[in-house]
């Protein structure tokens, strides 16, 4: 059988990062190929190259034996390649029908007027063919997220594509809707359409795919026949390295006091029934895939997102944290994953950033007290070993690791006892990572309690006393460091709607 799609030795670099190196992938007519890998493995980049959003640096792409060079999304559509993006790409103020046929509206007079009647007829036909119960005239913003997802899918299917890429299409769908989607996929397969299906949900892959291609760290690892493969094998290949990591003793002795407790917390940001305890001097790791709800937990604790039900107990007392400034007053510090936008004022100098949250202690009648600021900044720069020529250096000239240290200094100065780190070593080079780890360890030893959200499993395993694993807005397991390993975490992280 001839190959529908053949991507050979694709490479792609972004400034400072090799996103893909020599990745190959092939797809047959009427086949569902699952594409799996951890966050950042390069799946999305590869698909963006196939659909003309990125340009490849190296390698070749063949469509039905013909060499192609996809230059734009429009070109991809013309070639019969369409994609359902993970993040919704809809124009919410427009109706469903207008969204589906945007840029392809049936036209009348002067090729300028839109034949609205025909547009709606075409939409109705499409929905009939896909057995979708939607009214094309409804505005997209009036739909639930799941419905919007179905509109995306309908849009992609309306192209009569040869190749359809689905990037995590079921994240927002209910079970019944997933059944509908899978029926549609079966139908497409029967018509010879090739489908590339990106998902983290092993149960879905087992159910829907014919073959599984595994990527890791921008490289091609293996392609396996689904029927002959155990899913645990897939997970092992995704995670790769069977690293032995020295783990920490659990801080679970009962005389350790609980500083923060969440009881059955749910939010409108999709968190469901979150319960856990954070102990004094503990590093509590949070693992999970992208969109599992880890950052949302931080936002709930820090007063960014409103809590719908459940309670937060801080130092034994029930508290209502309604805003970040309240959280800070309660001694909670939040170190965002987006350091440059949410953690620091990069155009200002080191000392100003360090005292940013405590500026009230360094002013008299509104005049800032520069001498005291300089003194305290020097002290913290020394203590945290921030490498900077002086405290007057602008933050943007510091390396990522040193920027992170400045953020930490800011919250320490504010006397925070609970520190929430969201991806503490993102964008920090390997050498500096070690220093940040050491700093976190020291902080914990001194009695600070740390919540560490990280997508890097080795980091979570190396740093955490206990590990909370999340999936789909729920906690799917809490592991002690002795029992935790990458496979166990990945299993919990891909558990679909447990409990």
């Amino acid at each position: 059988m001839s190959k529908l799609l053949d991507m050979q030795n694709i490479s792609k670099s972004f400034p400072g990062v090799k996103a893909l190196s020599n990745v190959s992938l092939d797809l047959h007519h009427g086949e569902v190929l699952a594409l799996v890998g951890e966050n950042g493995a390069g799946k999305s980049t590869l698909m963006k190259i196939l659909t003309g959003i990125y340009e490849k640096d190296d390698g070749e792409v063949f469509l039905e034996g013909q060499k192609i060079n996809v230059t734009s999304t429009k070109h991809a559509q013309e070639l019969g390649i369409s994609i359902i993006h993970q993040e919704l790409n809809l124009m919410k103020d427009l109706s469903i029908a207008e969204n589906i046929f945007i840029g392809r509206e049936p036209r009348g007079l002067l090729n300028f007027f839109i034949k609205d009647q025909e547009l709606h007829n075409k939409t109705r036909e499409l929905f009939k063919r896909l057995s979708l119960d939607l009214n094309g005239k409804t505005k997209v913003k009036d739909l639930t997220v799941a419905k919007q997802q179905m509109v995306e899918i309908a849009k992609a299917l309306s192209f009569d594509s040869k190749i359809l890429i689905m990037d995590e299409p079921t994240t927002a769908l209910t079970d019944a809707e997933i059944d509908v989607l899978f029926d549609i996929i079966a139908n497409l397969k029967a018509n010879g359409v090739g489908i590339i299906y990106i998902s983290h949900r092993m149960d879905e892959l087992k159910r829907i795919s014919d073959r599984i291609t595994i990527m890791r760290d921008g490289e091609y690892i293996a392609t396996l026949n689904t029927k002959e493969t155990e899913m645990s094998k897939v997970i092992q290949l995704m995670v790769g390295r069977e690293l032995y990591i020295e783990s920490k003793p659990t801080v679970s002795d009962s005389n350790r006091e609980t500083v923060l407790e969440l009881k059955n917390v749910s939010t409108n940001t999709n968190l469901k029934d979150i319960s856990f305890e954070l102990k004094k001097g503990e590093i509590l790791g949070f693992a999970g895939l992208m969109g599992a709800g880890r950052t949302e937990v931080a936002n709930a604790i820090f007063g960014v997102d409103k809590i719908r039900s459940g309670e937060i107990i801080l130092q034994g007392k029930k508290v209502q944290i309604t805003s970040p400034s309240r959280a800070v007053k309660q001694g909670i510090g939040y170190l965002s994953e987006d350091r440059k936008h949410l953690g620091l004022v990069v155009d200002m100098d080191v000392k100003t950033n360090i005292v940013m949250s405590s500026i009230n202690d360094y002013q008299t009648l509104g005049f800032v007290n520069d001498q005291n600021i300089a003194k305290i900044s020097e002290e913290y720069v020394e203590r945290l070993k921030v490498k900077t020529p002086s405290i007057n250096q602008q933050i943007k000239f510091l390396s990522g690791g040193n920027q992170q240290k400045v953020v930490i200094a800011k919250w320490l100065l504010r006397d925070c006892d609970i520190l929430i780190f969201d991806e503490p070593t993102r964008g920090i080079d390997v050498g500096a990572k070690g220093e940040i780890y050491k700093l976190l360890d020291e902080l914990a030893e001194k009695g600070k309690s740390i919540i560490m959200i990280s997508s890097e499993l080795p980091e979570v395993l190396r740093m955490s006393h206990r590990i909370v694993v999340m999936s789909e807005g729920r906690i799917t397991g809490i592991l002690n460091s002795e029992e935790a390993n990458q496979e166990k975490i990945m299993e919990l992280a891909t558990a679909y709607r447990e409990g």
Binding site: T73, L94, G103, T174, A176
Partner: protein, 332 residues
Amino acid sequence: MKADTIDQITVTKKKNKGIPSNTLQQVLAFSSLVVLVIFFSFASSSFMQWSNIVGILLSTAVIGILALGATFVIITGGIDLSVGTVMTLSSVITGIIIVNSDLPIIVGVVGGILTGALCGLLCGLAITKLKIPPFVATLAMMMIAKGLALVISKAAPIYFTDKPMFTKIALGSIIPGISIPNAVIIFFVLGIIAAIILSKTILGRFNLAIGSNEDATKLSGVNVDYWKMTIYTLAGAFTGIAGVLMASRLNSAQPALGQGYELEAIAAVVIGGTSLSGGKGTIIGTIIGALIMSVLTNGLRVLSIPQEWQTVVVGFVIILAVYMDILRRGKG
């Protein structure tokens, strides 16, 4: 397909909340206009006189036409600060062609409109090709047009005294028997054209799509840059028409006039319910917005409230209108 799955989906479907938000917004704006008219007609007997009504409509025409063009731009999520002075430049060009060069009136009219369109196109180019934010690009165009108008006219008004036909464009009455000035008729005809463009053509559709989600529109294969340039050019053409009418109405091209009109046009658009963040807006809303502004200023003048205070009131009305819009969206 199993029937039970379809039923389940139908059950989860979000219920539609009665009146669509666009219609509600128009009803709200229109009722405010009616309330204002009723209020002023009780407050002053001279308000409802025919001559006063014609006066209101005439003063709405120029701002209203500017606002029609601005509606398209604002729906993209952009802004056009240049319309006031570009309107002036268009008047001056029309004057130069008709008076100084003694060419036929129609050439002057077309020249004025093309001047506006060209300025719009240049703004569009700067925004799409040079990636200059609309605020800055059109601010620059505002100053360029202001300066050019003064340079070309040598800072002196150009009078159309020898061309009596020219003033008929705005002030004559094409419909016999009813003394409605042409400017008013032109405004309403342009309003209808604009409404058709926005709701029935691909230009309008892409305009709303770009304002709603520019990236998604681009990913759908739409040439976003091209359509943005077209939209700024279209808005520029509306500005040019306003410039010609302004000159005709004043029987002169006044090079120092015009600045500040852009803000009144934007105010009319905003009062009409078009969102400054883009993606939604209607032409009928803008027409009502422009009428509300001139009814307000006229009514306050009829009540002998000083002009300074009229401006203060308009300022508060803008806050009120936009706040109502935010409340409405918060609930919806």
